[in-house]
C-alpha cells in the first residue's frame, strides 16, 4: 500500500508503518528485533506483551522520543501534519499548575494565546468530565482524576495519533473500567488512530479492534489479530460470553508469562 492510499482513507487518523524496526540498549541488548507491521488510519490497536518486551520502546519511537537503530517508522497523517498525543504510565502532571493549566500546556508550548488555549482546555475537561475540578492542583486530585487530566492534555492538540503507555495500570478496578469506557467513547467521537500499550489481555480485548502481541525480549510479533466484538464497548460487554471467549482465544494463542 502506498502513501497516497493512506491519505484517501485518513479522515482524522494517522497511518503508522513500522518497517523492520530494531532497537538495542546498552545493558539490555536487543529490545526490538526487525518489527514490521502497519496500522491503518483510525484503528484502535492494543500492543500486548510481557513487561520489558519493548512495548514502551516501540511507543517512544512512535512518539518521536527515541530513534531506531535499524529500519524505519513512517507516520503519515491523512490531512495536514502528524500530531501526536501521549499518555504516560504516570499522569506526569506539572505540580505547580492546576488541572486546567496542565491541559493548556501543549498549546502554550505551541504559542497559543492563553484565552484561546483555556477555552479549548475547558472543552477537553468537559469531555473527560472534570469540569468542576479545573482549578484543583494535581495533589488535590485522585489517581483517576489525574489520569483523566492527562488524557485531556493529550487530546487538546487534536492528535491524529494517540499513544498510551499502560495508562490505567496503577488505578483501582472500577476507575480503570470507567476510564476504559471513556477512552472508547473518545475514540468513537474523534476517530484518531490509537496505539495502546498494556500487559492485560482483558484490557486489550475490551478496548481495541486489533491486538498485536509481542514476544518477550527481543520483541517479535507473536500474534496480530482483529477483535471480533461489537463496536459498542460498555460495561455489559465485560460479562458477555463473546468477550470472555475473545479473551480466552487470545490467552490460549499466546501464553504470556505470569506478571508479578
Amino acid at each position: 500500500m502506498n502513501s497516497s492510499s493512506y491519505s484517501e482513507q485518513g479522515k482524522s487518523g494517522a497511518a503508522v508503518r513500522c518497517e523492520g524496526i530494531s532497537r538495542a540498549f546498552a545493558g539490555t541488548g536487543l529490545v526490538l528485533d526487525r518489527l514490521t507491521f502497519q496500522i491503518e488510519p483510525g484503528e484502535f490497536v492494543a500492543l500486548l506483551g510481557p513487561s520489558g518486551s519493548g512495548k514502551s520502546s516501540l511507543l517512544r519511537l512512535a512518539a518521536g522520543l527515541d530513534r531506531a537503530d535499524g529500519g524505519r517508522m513512517v507516520i503519515e497523517a491523512g490531512q495536514g501534519t502528524v500530531s501526536r498525543g501521549f499518555v504516560f504510565q504516570e499522569a506526569t502532571l506539572i505540580p505547580w499548575r492546576n488541572a486546567l493549566r496542565n491541559i493548556t500546556l501543549p498549546l502554550e508550548l505551541q504559542g497559543w494565546e492563553m484565552e484561546r488555549a483555556k477555552a479549548r482546555a475547558e472543552e477537553e475537561l468537559r469531555r473527560v468530565r472534570l469540569m468542576e475540578f479545573a482549578a484543583r492542583y494535581p495533589h488535590e486530585l485522585s489517581g483517576g482524576m489525574k489520569m483523566r487530566t492527562s488524557v485531556a492534555r493529550a487530546l487538546i492538540t487534536r492528535p491524529n495519533l494517540l499513544l498510551l503507555d499502560e495508562p490505567f495500570a496503577a488505578l483501582d478496578e472500577p476507575t480503570r473500567h470507567a476510564l476504559q469506557e471513556q477512552l472508547r467513547e473518545i475514540w468513537a467521537a474523534l476517530g484518531m488512530t490509537i496505539l495502546f500499550v498494556t500487559h492485560s489481555i482483558s484490557e486489550a480485548v475490551f478496548l481495541a479492534n486489533r491486538i498485536i502481541v509481542l514476544s518477550p525480549r527481543p520483541a517479535r510479533i507473536l500474534l496480530d489479530s482483529s477483535i471480533q466484538l461489537s463496536e459498542t464497548r460498555t460495561a455489559p460487554l465485560r460479562t458477555s460470553v463473546a468477550y470472555v471467549e475473545e479473551v480466552r482465544r487470545i490467552a490460549t494463542a499466546v501464553p504470556l508469562p505470569e506478571e508479578t
Binding site: I94, P95, W96, L109, P138
Partner: protein, 257 residues
C-alpha cells in the same frame, strides 16, 4: 494555636536559655568566672539598652551589606548554575573550581578584598557575596539537573524550545532546591558581612572589634547576639518567600491536612 499550646511550644527552647543565663549571672556575681571572660547577662542587656542607637545603626549597616551581598550572590550564582546546567562541557570545566573556591577561607582572602575594593562597604559586600555564592550554585545546579525525566519527555513531545524547557519546567521544578540553597546562603551572608567588616570596617563587625580592644566584653556579646538575630531574620525571610511561592504545590511547604 491557643495561648497554652503556644507557651508549651516555646518552653523547651527557652528553658536552657533561662537556666544558662541564670548560671552565668550567678557565676560572675559570685566571682567564679572573671567578668572579663564572660559578662553577666545583666551587663549584656544593659549594653543592649545603653548602646541601642549605635548598635541599631551598626546592625542596619551589616544587614544592608549582607542583603546586597546575598542579592549579588543569588543573581550571579543562579545564572552561573543555569549556564553550567545547560552546557555539560562548561560544568565539567568550571564546577571543580567552584568547589575549590568554596574551600578557601574568607578570612584569608578578606585582606585581598580590601586591596581591591578599599575600606568600606564594597569590601564587606564582596565578602558576603563570596561566602554565600557556593551553596546557591550547588543547590540550583542540583535542582536543575533533577527534573523528572517524564516531564522532559512531555516537553520534548510538544517540541518545546530550550528556553521554554528552562523557564516553564526546569527552573520552577528546581525552586525547592533553590530555596534551600538560599536559606543556607542567607545565614552565611551575615557571617561574610561581619568578617568583611572586621577588616573593611563598619557595622557590627567593627563594633565587635573595637569593643574587644576596649575590653568591653559585654558589648562584644551584645553585638554577637544581634548578628545572630540578623541571620535568623534573613533565614526567616527566605522561609516566608519560599512558603508563599511553593505553598500551593510543593510537599515541603504544604500544610498537612
Amino acid at each position: 494555636m491557643n495561648l497554652k499550646t503556644r507557651i508549651s511550644a516555646l518552653l523547651p527552647p527557652l528553658l536552657p536559655l533561662i537556666v544558662s543565663m541564670g548560671l552565668a549571672e550567678t557565676a560572675v556575681r559570685l566571682g567564679w568566672v572573671p567578668a572579663y571572660l564572660i559578662p553577666a547577662p545583666s551587663e549584656v542587656i544593659r549594653s543592649l539598652i545603653d548602646d541601642r542607637v549605635e548598635l541599631a545603626v551598626a546592625a542596619w549597616t551589616t544587614l544592608s551589606s549582607a542583603l546586597v551581598g546575598l542579592l549579588l550572590s543569588f543573581t550571579t550564582g543562579t545564572l552561573f548554575a543555569i549556564a553550567l546546567s545547560s552546557w555539560d562541557l562548561a560544568r565539567r570545566a568550571f564546577y571543580p573550581y567552584a568547589v575549590f573556591f568554596q574551600t578557601v577561607p574568607i578570612i584569608a582572602i578578606a585582606p585581598l578584598l580590601v586591596i581591591w575594593f578599599g575600606f568600606g562597604q564594597p569590601t564587606v559586600i564582596a565578602s558576603a557575596a563570596i561566602v554565600s555564592v557556593f551553596p546557591i550554585i550547588a543547590s540550583t545546579l542540583l535542582g536543575l539537573k533533577s527534573t523528572e525525566p517524564a516531564l522532559i519527555d512531555l516537553f520534548t513531545l510538544y517540541s518545546a524550545s530550550a528556553r521554554q524547557m528552562l523557564l516553564m519546567l526546569k527552573i520552577p521544578f528546581a525552586l525547592p532546591q533553590i530555596f534551600s540553597g538560599l536559606r543556607i546562603a542567607s545565614g552565611l551572608a551575615v557571617v561574610g558581612a561581619i568578617v568583611g567588616e572586621f577588616i573593611g570596617g563598619g557595622g557590627l563587625g567593627s563594633v565587635v572589634d573595637s569593643a574587644r580592644t576596649q575590653q568591653r566584653i559585654d558589648r562584644v556579646f551584645a553585638a554577637v547576639l544581634i548578628s545572630a538575630l540578623l541571620g535568623a531574620v534573613l533565614v526567616g525571610a527566605v522561609n516566608f518567600i519560599s512558603a508563599l511561592t511553593l505553598g500551593s504545590w510543593h510537599t515541603s511547604e504544604r500544610k498537612t491536612s
